[in-house]
Subunit: 213 residues, 2 copies
């Protein structure tokens, strides 16, 4: 995965679970979002039985392949391996990036959440392919997301390490501009797409606001 | 792993987390329990950061090797792989046994929890090396353990599949006899050892009551 490739792929990064949202199944939702221009997709499911995660995850992976969009799994490296995912995204409490890399192999994408300069530095040292930086704004999608940190860390990371980074936390088409201008390569969203009445259009509008920023 | 070996190894099976219990560190506790005669050890930690699980897990694995006792990891196949564990134990909501086998390889132990004949049948079909059958008695160690089922399922499993099985749930030296007489190869315990004032003696007494049943 070259640095240039991954920066483009981070533009509009959809993080989603497998519970139906607004009556839409995860496969329907992902299909709509990918058609709208989502450039990377992460499966983040903490509650459902893993048999179901593996079954539906396989469908999402196939959809992503069809759209030539990387498919990542949150936290569970074992699930990522079984789904032949393109990578794994780990938080600060998950398997450290160096070990995730060891299991996944050199060709896969390893993303790491960072909310402080120290966490960013460690992730860079551990060989993360990109950082998920946040929470930028206040968010209701993730109970343990921590306090909003604004865009300062994005600029700092850009300046100090210039590692690919995607901003996450409360981002919408209306407030995506400042995070891109601060140095993020893209935005990661949950509800801005999953809770939209038209996920395809929501993805398209987000992409537009990222591209024009 | 031959069937005869694993039946012996199931005799006194300690399931433990990594939080200190009664002021004892997990490594101290495991050391005492292994000296007292524990024959298999499972690391089951759901709350701590995985960096810590990997670090302390490595110490537990080394201890188990020194005592020539199999070391298993609960649920997380990725953690089991990173710790080079001897196997993995999966519950009904975890990665299905066939997939756990696929990741772990043929030489490793795959244990599966079963609380009904249907779950036992599926686990046998999936190639489980042993079943963890329960909860036998009422237990306070595991919030999601379900209702106590008594020993009838043990007898049924013994008769229908004769697969190695360890009984779990509320088992102590005082009530271990009936589960062995019903056909279990051993007993899995958490608090009977971890909450004992003398874990070494608790393990020794449990072993005696299993052996004499």
């Amino acid at each position: 995965m070259s640095g240039a490739d991954i920066r483009k792929q981070l533009a509009v990064y959809l993080v989603m679970g497998l519970e139906p949202v607004l009556g839409r199944s995860p496969v329907e939702l992902a299909g709509e979002a990918l058609s709208g221009g989502v450039t990377m997709l992460q499966l983040r499911e903490k509650n459902l039985p893993l048999s179901e995660v593996l079954e539906t995850g396989r469908e999402l992976r196939e959809l992503c392949r069809k759209h030539e969009v990387p498919f990542l799994v949150n936290d569970r490296v074992d699930v990522a391996l079984l789904l032949d995912a393109d990578g794994v995204h780990v938080g600060q409490e998950d398997i450290p990036a160096v070990y995730a890399r060891k299991l996944m192999g050199p060709g896969k994408i390893i993303g790491v959440s960072a909310g402080t300069p120290e966490e960013a530095e460690q992730a860079v040292r551990d060989g993360a392919d990109y950082l998920g930086v946040g929470s930028i704004y206040a968010t209701s999608s993730k109970a343990d997301a921590g306090e909003a940190i604004g865009t300062a860390l994005i600029s700092e990371i850009k300046e100090r390490w210039n590692v690919p980074q995607v901003a996450i936390g409360g981002i919408t088409a209306a407030n995506a501009g400042p995070v891109i201008q601060a140095g993020a390569d893209g935005v990661a969203v949950i509800s801005a797409i999953t809770r939209s009445t038209d996920p395809r259009e929501a993805a398209a509008i987000l992409k537009k606001s990222v591209m024009s920023a």
